[in-house]
Amino acid sequence: MVKTIDLRTPLSSENVLSLRAGDFVSISGSLITGRDKIHKYLAEHRPGKKDIPFELSGAILYHCGPLIRKTEAGYKIISAGPTTSMRVEMYEASVIKEYNLKGIIGKGGMGEKTLSALKENACVYFQAIGGAAVYLAERIKKVLGVWKLDEFGPAEAMWHLETEGFPAIVTMDAHGNNIHKDIENMSFKKFSELIGENN
């Protein structure tokens, strides 16, 4: 059995610094979603603490545009897997710094700018399993709130979710390790061999 580290939000810098790329984690507490429009908005408008209805300091930002249904009993999460993180690379470093985020969950990894920001701000990137959206939604227990719903629509709004046992893998840590880059370098070697053999 693979060892899994239990994490509870908010995360402290100590929590973050103890994590290493390759660790399997199980996250409980709250997740805040944010994808393309939220990142553009945060980076361009820099809304202050009082403008955002949830605490972002120490929070984990989840790159996710959930499928949500509004019912009489409130919002119900149907499916909620990660979206591709690289699309917000141009914003993420400044967002991490400005709002003191301690974790990012997404898929596919991020670039050099974000990797440096993880190191400078003691933050960590978790890879969630792309497409495992029902499995992950079952680990989201409650919708606690939402921001920018009317302006950005349900897929792009910032949702405040309560989770229990959300599985992820640390793939970019606060010490400069980056599994995505390692795999890319390794596969590039193979790729170059394959491309080169008929030259």
């Binding site: 149907i78 897997g81 792309g130 495992a132 897929a155 795999i183 890319e184 193979k190 394959l194 491309i195």
Partner: protein, 281 residues
Amino acid sequence: MLKLRDGVVELYKKVATSLPPDIEAAMRSALLQEAAGSSAQSSLSIILENIKTARETGRPLCQDTGIPVFFIKIPVGLSQLALKHTILDATRIATEKIPLRANAVDIITEKNSGDNTGAGFPVIYFEESQTSALTIELMLKGAGSENAGQIYKLPDESLNAQRDIEGIRKCVLDTVQKAQGKGCPPYIIGVGVGGAKDQVTRLSKEQLIRKLTDTNKIDELALLEKRLLSEINNLGIGPMGLGGASTAIGVKIGANHRHPASYFVDVSLSCWANRRGRLIW
């Protein structure tokens, strides 16, 4: 066409909530290839559990219910326009009922239409059929993998890709190397080769509705499909791009005649959740 409309709503439901048997079987075989305790093994196990839960609970297996893409073979005499309206109605109902995530966004106002209809949304391709049956193929094409697709004009000096089978092969390897884990591997890869830019993008997408177990009628392309599948899996990108043996579970190539001046190669990637289904009416 009320009954047909309900049939299309049902097709949406089936496609959004259950994976075709050939894809699921390939994912099960992929799991057996991965090392015990690896992130590849863990990811694939969770994916397989997700597939099961989605089917049992009737919930869309991915929150990105994609761009709906229809490939329709329409019998002589049936109106395309009427059928298009039936599909639009079915799309609105399916979005509300299943539900699907509303994904159609106006690029000027940035407003989401809320019902998955809009300019060119869903994508509908018609072709007249030789039989009396109406065949509707639906694919829900996830956007993470859609973004990872590429188009090439051969020759391409940076890849040393010339206008031949080897050139096509290099383009496909290049697309997968660039995509890494961003589009949710293991991938299903569709390739379209030919002389008109719009045609090859359609052709590459159409390859994604082929069964993984079929064999290309053109021997040279059948060989290339097999070779590419093995080479791509040697890249070691693996499930979710975290390393491993299964980077792709299928490569399918289609070709059109080309103009002497042109040689386009379009590569379409599908995430493992290659959601497709067929309705025959």
